[in-house]
């Protein structure tokens, strides 16, 4: 997925590798023009990075020694597939004492199954473990936590 890309020299993509950056709908950077806007060829949904672009940015961060930023960007790459309202729902579920362990596990499974978001799923499971230990699951649900 990130072949033909040197994270040490191809950043910034916008100036060094514009050929690699396009919208999710396949528009290249030089197609993002006022003419295209006037002709109705641009939509807000398309104004974002593709998962491939975010993985390249993760590789850039990793090459610069920024391991955790790279992991964050890799999670972001997975979340590009997840709709806004689902993300906001997941965020709420991760807030303290909102969710049972079983519900968090269902979130993790859904992230894997529906969106292929494996690292985000793992992240949610690690949160669930920590929440169980620290009484941060929904009240009355702590006993259930150990079953996972």
């Amino acid at each position: 997925m990130v072949a033909d890309f040197d994270p040490r020299s191809d950043y910034p993509l916008g100036t060094r590798r514009p050929d690699l950056a396009c919208t999710p709908s396949g528009l290249s950077l030089d197609e993002l023009t006022l003419d295209a806007l006037r002709a109705g060829r641009l939509s807000n949904d398309a104004m974002r990075a593709t998962p491939e672009t975010l993985l390249r940015q993760a590789a850039v961060a990793h090459a610069a020694g920024r391991t955790q930023l790279a992991e964050n960007l890799a999670r972001a790459a997975e979340l590009t597939a997840v709709p806004d309202d689902v993300i906001l729902g997941l965020y709420t579920a991760l807030r303290p004492r909102r969710t049972t362990a079983a519900e968090l596990e269902r979130w993790a499974e859904r992230l894997e199954r529906e969106y292929g978001a494996h690292s985000v799923a793992a992240f949610v499971r690690e949160a669930a473990d920590a929440y169980a230990e620290r009484s941060l699951l929904a009240p009355g649900a702590t006993a259930e936590a150990g079953r996972r």
Binding site: L13, C22, L29, N44, L69, L73, D84, E126
Partner: protein, 726 residues
């Protein structure tokens, strides 16, 4: 207010008695003890930091180094930033706090200069107003952008205004300078929504706290915050976290620990979450840190830890730190002189009244001083001077652009009167009240209809604000390339992304790294409020009198003769004293005074000296009585006597700006009294200790003219004064 430390309440800056001893034990590739706590006792922050925040391999190496050895490396110019950053990956929060606490203030500053992520420091602006007037928001944002701020943040008084405020500063900023990043600080969900719609490009609302109960009170955990950070990134929105000394103490959950240690925990968690940066350094609780001993130093230390952890640092200085301008600015220097990625995390570009963030540590009224301090130190703290007419023009254009956008999107209209007052008014009190009920309905529409950055661009394009429309498309390209998600990214000229990856801080000692020089230094030193030296001595009134030379001056013989000895430029090159008195009036007053005292004045020009003592002494040698008044063109005068050493005198009047016509008359009278051997009480003179600071440049320039007029070796001239009174 100053307070004695109360460590049990967290009211202690650093090195608190309740701070844990640094420790780190690793077993089977897992952290089993962190800063005195075993894995079973880990709270949610310990778990998060242990899981994501410590590089075990580096930790093993770091364990072999003593604290003071690490501290020395922080200030060793020979140890490069990447090596220190790598080392930080193996340190625990207590160790980070312990090591930076070994540095004194100047060492902290030096280490911060070395460890800043981005090569060039920048600054962030706050733009709000109490009426949430869009024309004024756009005008202020446009001016802020034109002044070089790299980021602009707004917020709301009423949360339903958020979409309109976001649009207003988006439009204003892109009119002012394309590529400025903007944000609207509101509740997290709404915040993300504005970003999704392309109305904002960054967010720094992700607050982190140093204890578990504070985190939970903030309705978050490190995992929920980290997820949110990834969510923003997935939509191409730049994110930085927020933390700061004193928040835990204020929330009542400091767990008996010092502000610096808890901030170190925050920062370790922030890096563990994968944030590219942080807004820290007291921020909204800065006044609490400044209430206790070492508070200013602790805040600088927390900025340093953030930079050491390789995070972009927006270093506070936004909330009011103190009522004392001196303490406030003393604190600022800790970040201003080394330079941070954003020297303030919100410079209030409008008057303090309109700052809805509850702050405005520095505001519109301080801009000239900020610019002057940059000029004084030759330091770039991210704000550029612009001329008054440029500011007016860009403000008006910003306001007009938002008027066009509101019209195109069918929002409540922005009137021409609002444009005019937003352009030239002082604060929102100058503007008419808007129909707020209608405005918030329009705000709701933005969210319901998903009105986006592209819609704003189309509206601008349709109203011939093509440049601003193009700039908003440029921001969309940033979201697509995601280049600005790397550490410490800002947008430079021509849409180049300047980040810690493309433009890393490469300071390696004198002559290296970012230095304010060349065209940028020329720009930052040319301030609109500086004076053109030529103007200081030009424009002096035309003389209404002239002096006629009567040949070389010879020694006089009348015992009642007092010489008035003039400097070479008096009534020739120069026409007024430094205090603005016409030379002829001064001369007339001196002559009147001499006559009042019963003597005859005689006017002589000394041509070969510019110094008042020598002018006066030369005059005294020519005087029949042996007494003379020497006077320089700038008005400095002396009463001299021929038998004294040149640098001695009877009376010296050095405070020329404070001498009035009456003073000169009194000087003449006293000179006459000395000539006749009478007693005289010295002429009373006023003292103004600011006169020197205020007029020192003008003094230099006037004296230079006097010195230029000197003709070495030329004998003194006898003069007569011919008044040309109408």
């Amino acid at each position: 207010m100053l307070a004695e430390p109360r460590p049990e309440l967290g009211l202690v800056a650093m090195d608190g008695p309740g701070d844990p001893e640094p420790s780190l034990r690793i077993r089977d590739g897992r952290v089993v003890e962190l800063d005195g706590r075993s894995a079973e006792e880990f709270d949610v922050l310990d778990r998060f930091i242990a899981r994501y925040g410590i590089d075990l391999e580096i930790a093993a190496k770091a364990a072999e180094l003593a604290d003071d050895e690490i501290a020395r490396r922080l200030v060793d110019v020979g140890v490069p930033r990447p090596e220190l950053v790598r080392l930080s990956r193996g340190l625990t929060p207590a160790r980070l706090a312990r090591v930076v606490a070994l540095l004194d203030p100047v060492e902290l500053m030096f280490a911060l200069k070395k460890l800043r992520a981005r090569r060039r420091p920048a600054n962030q602006a706050h733009v709000t107003n109490r009426k949430e007037n869009p024309a004024l928001l756009a005008a202020d944002a446009a001016e802020a952008a034109a002044r070089g701020f790299a980021e602009i943040e707004t917020t709301v008084g009423v949360s339903r205004y958020a979409p309109l405020n976001a649009i207003a500063i988006l439009v204003g900023s892109q009119v002012g300078r394309p590529g400025v990043l903007t944000q609207c600080a509101v509740e997290e969900r709404r915040n993300l929504q504005l970003g999704l719609q392309g109305l904002t490009t960054y967010s720094e609302t992700l607050s982190v706290y140093g204890t578990e109960p504070c985190f939970v009170d903030g309705d978050d955990t490190p995992w929920s915050k980290a997820l949110l950070a990834s969510a923003y990134a997935s939509r191409g929105i730049k994110v930085r976290f927020t933390s700061g000394a004193g928040a835990e103490a204020l929330m009542g959950h400091a767990q008996g620990c010092s502000m610096l240690y808890l901030e170190a925990r925050c920062l370790a968690a922030i890096r563990a979450a994968g944030s590219q940066g942080v807004q820290n350094g007291g921020v909204s609780t800065v006044a609490l840190a400044l209430a206790v001993p070492g508070g200013t130093r602790a805040i600088l230390a927390e900025n340093l830890i953030a930079a050491w952890l390789d995070l972009e640092v927006a270093s506070g200085n936004d909330a009011i730190a103190s009522h004392s301008p001196i303490r406030k600015t003393a604190k600022l220097m800790g970040q201003f002189l080394p330079g941070t990625d954003f020297v303030t995390s919100g410079y209030s570009v409008m008057p303090r009244y309109d700052n809805v963030f509850g702050g405005g540590n520095y505001d519109a009224d301080d801009l000239d001083e900020w610019l002057t301090i940059q000029r004084d130190w030759q330091v770039d703290a991210g704000i550029e001077p612009i001329a008054e007419d440029e500011a007016v023009a860009v403000r008006q254009r910003g306001a007009l652009a938002v008027q066009a956008v509101f019209a195109a999107l069918g929002f409540p209209p922005v009137s021409d009167e609002e444009i005019e007052l937003a352009t030239r008014g002082y604060d929102s009190r100058d503007l008419p009240d808007r129909d707020r009920a209608a405005d918030v309905v329009a705000g709701d529409r933005v969210l319901e209809e998903g009105i986006s950055g592209l819609d704003v661009a189309a509206a601008l394009d349709g109203a011939d604000f093509t440049d601003a429309a193009e700039a908003i498309l440029g921001l969309q390209r940033l979201r697509v390339t995601a280049d600005y998600l790397q550490t410490s990214a800002i947008v430079g000229p021509d849409w180049t992304v300047e980040s810690a990856v493309s433009d890393p801080n490469d300071y390696r000692g004198p002559g290296t790294g970012y230095r304010l020089e060349g065209p940028r230094w020329a720009k930052l030193q040319r301030l609109p409020h500086q004076l053109d030296p030529a103007e200081l001595t030009a424009g002096q009134v035309a003389a209404s009198a002239r002096l006629v030379a009567k040949g070389e001056a010879r020694p006089g013989d009348g015992a009642d003769e007092v010489v008035l000895a003039l400097g070479p430029a008096f009534l020739t090159e120069l026409r007024e004293t430094i205090g603005g008195l016409a030379h002829e009036a001064v001369l007339a007053a001196l002559a009147d005074g001499v006559r009042d005292g019963g003597c005859r004045p005689r006017i002589v020009r000394v041509r070969d000296a510019a110094d008042v003592a020598f002018i006066g002494h030369e005059g005294a040698r020519l005087s029949g009585s042996g007494v003379a008044v020497g006077i320089q063109s700038k008005g400095t005068a002396v009463i001299h006597r021929a038998d004294l050493e040149p640098l001695d005198n009877l009376e010296l009047f050095g405070m020329a700006p404070l001498l009035g016509v009456d003073s000169y008359r009194a000087i003449g009278r006293n000179a006459a009294a000395y000539a006749l051997g009478h007693q005289a009480s010295p002429v009373p003179i006023e003292i103004d200790n600011y006169a020197r600071a205020k007029l020192i440049v003008k003094t230099l320039l006037m004296h230079a003219k006097e010195a230029e007029a000197v003709e070495p070796g030329a004998p003194p001239l006898e003069l007569s004064l011919e008044l040309a009174r109408a």
